[in-house]
Amino acid sequence: MSSIKDKKIIVIGDRDGIPGPAIDACILAAGGQIEYSSTECFV
């Protein structure tokens, strides 16, 4: 899997899985750029 460093990322989190802010934290720690982030409820 290629690195996400300096990549522009769109984050769609799942309220019953991994929420957006938790994914954001991982992406920022790995040097990615978050262009859009939200958490959705699918149920």
Binding site: R15, D16, I18, P19, P21, A22, C41, V43
Partner: protein
């Protein structure tokens, strides 16, 4: 003393035409893609009332089958109807759409609901035969109007149509010419929520076998908002439903927190009773029209029936400790705080292990957990997975991390402390509360001692905060002491004062220490 759960009720309303005309997925599709293949195919995927009654998860919801029954039924469940299924169950009933339209009119106090007169004449006898419908409610149903009148409201007056068997049988008039908060669409949605809440309250009074006048306070925990342009969410669904259900001695208010609403409401109700503010509090919620057919596109694409064809409703009655019914232990309340964070581990720790550890309990000390009890028959074909199973795996994983079970015991923990989901995907309806009826029975029958109800809410959907929300509470076996037998702090003070007076008098030679 802890307050107790005296009774509960669970009702469903089969609404096949509302799936087509009122579900948000279908309404959105009509706007963005009115000629879509989905909308054309949808009517062929709608279930009959008999099919909805025979659907195993619905039979569990109203208490005719237990959650454990679903473990013995191979998935998918929609093609395995229950033979001789009854629309009346231990906890409640499945009401057909035609009767429900009459109940909606009975709940309308502003003359916005009009039904076609032949439809009323045909359905009224059936409505009156429903064991929950007493004369006071049946008398609220009006004779009905000509179809021309109803067609005019729907076609020329921005009204919302009520359809049955794909035929127009009624209408909801808008409440204001300009105010979108009183549009016919919003009034329809709110009246549906109110009517299904009324049905839940009527069922609750019957199940609890109490006088409706005994209820002192009602809390509505649905996900709708009623008000006008100057107070969009003014409320009060609780009092509006209590009026129709005949709870004449009750006032009430609404509690909102998306799907976490019911758990918040029950904790508040238990606190109000424990504090002595009210002796008997009902928590209630009606269903959501918007969520009907929410995952319909995936169901149709995969050749399934549209399984989200029922509105859900429930009510829970909380009262003073009678020494018998299961208690709500307010010493073990889990809470997701502003500072908790949103990682799954942080969420589950705040709601489960943290409150248990505060009183020296382990995760394994809770016999059953009830979190998101959505029916996986609905969610799996839509790609949302098995939500209850995911929750139980997370709880088991935390138990492993805490060193309370071995890693290899993880599947056993899920099986022992979890359950398959059976509740319709109606937001607040599946959120922890569907198990309360079974929990009360299981505790009274000594099958379990302790259950945890967990409510989780997606606050971010309202665009006011990115925060998640959740609270949890414990239902436990009654200690056996009644409220009247408990010794109050004032009584203890009085005993001590009397003893000290006697002791002082004895020192002074009064010799009446034993008096």
């Amino acid at each position: 003393m802890n307050s107790v759960i005296l009774s509960s009720s669970y009702v469903l309303v089969h609404t096949p035409d509302m799936v087509i005309h009122n579900g948000s997925t279908q309404n959105t599709e009509r706007v963005v893609n009115p000629d879509s293949e989905y909308l054309k195919a949808l009517p062929q995927h709608i279930r009959s009332f008999e099919q909805a009654v025979a659907y195993a998860p619905n039979q569990v919801y109203i208490g005719n089958k237990t959650p454990n029954f679903l473990n013995s039924l191979a998935m998918p469940w929609y093609d395995k109807p229950i033979e001789n299924a009854d629309k009346f169950g231990r906890f409640g009933q499945i009401m057909p759409q035609d009767e429900f339209y009459l109940l909606i009119q009975a709940c309308d106090v502003f003359d916005v609901v009009n039904l076609e007169k032949n439809f009323v004449a045909e359905i009224l006898p059936k409505f009156k035969n429903n064991p929950l419908i007493k004369e006071d409610i049946a008398l609220r149903v009006k004779e009905g109007k000509d179809i021309d009148f109803i067609e005019n409201i729907v076609n020329n007056e921005h009204g919302e149509g009520l359809y049955h068997n794909n035929k127009l049988v009624g209408s909801v008039t808008r409440g204001h010419d300009v105010d979108v908060n009183l549009s016919a669409h919003v009034l329809h949605e709110n009246l549906v929520s109110k009517a299904s809440s009324v049905l839940s309250l009527l069922q609750l009074i019957k199940n609890a076998n109490i006088d409706a006048n005994d209820v002192e306070y009602v809390i509505d925990c649905s996900e709708e908002a009623c008000g006008d342009v100057n107070q969009r969410g003014g409320g009060n669904f609780a009092k509006a439903a209590a009026e129709i259900a005949g709870l004449n001695n009750a006032t009430g208010s609404d509690v909102r927190s998306f799907c976490a609403g019911p758990a918040h409401a029950i904790i508040m109700a238990a606190s109000l009773v424990k504090a002595g503010t009210y002796k008997c509090v009902a928590v209630t919620a009606g269903g959501s029209t918007a969520k009907l057919g929410m995952n319909g596109k995936d169901h149709v694409k995969k050749g399934l029936p549209v399984l989200e064809d029922v509105l859900g409703g429930f009510a829970v009655l909380i009262g003073v400790n009678d020494g018998v019914h299961p208690e709500i232990n307010l010493d073990i309340v889990g809470r997701h705080t502003v500072g908790t964070g949103s990682s799954p581990e942080a969420v589950i720790t705040s709601l489960l292990s943290a409150p248990l550890e505060r009183v020296g309990l382990k995760m394994t000390d809770v016999d059953k957990y009830s979190a998101e009890m959505q029916n996986p028959d609905v969610t799996k074909p839509a790609g949302a997975g098995d939500v209850p199973l995911s929750n139980f795996k997370m709880i088991a994983a935390l138990s492993v991390k805490k060193g309370q079970i071995e890693r290899k015991e993880l599947p056993i923990f899920v099986e022992k402390h979890g359950m398959p989901g059976w509740a319709p995907t109606q937001g607040h309806i599946p959120s922890g509360v569907p198990y309360i009826g079974f929990a009360v029975n299981d505790i009274l029958e000594n099958k379990i001692n302790r259950a945890m109800i967990i409510g989780k809410g997606s606050l971010f959907l309202g665009r006011m905060t990115n925060l998640f929300d959740g609270v949890s509470f414990i239902i436990q076996k009654n200690s056996g002491k009644k409220e009247s037998e408990a010794i109050s702090e004032d009584m203890v003070k009085e005993f001590i004062a009397k003893a000290m007076r006697n002791f002082a008098e004895s020192l002074m030679g009064g010799g009446n220490y034993d008096k």
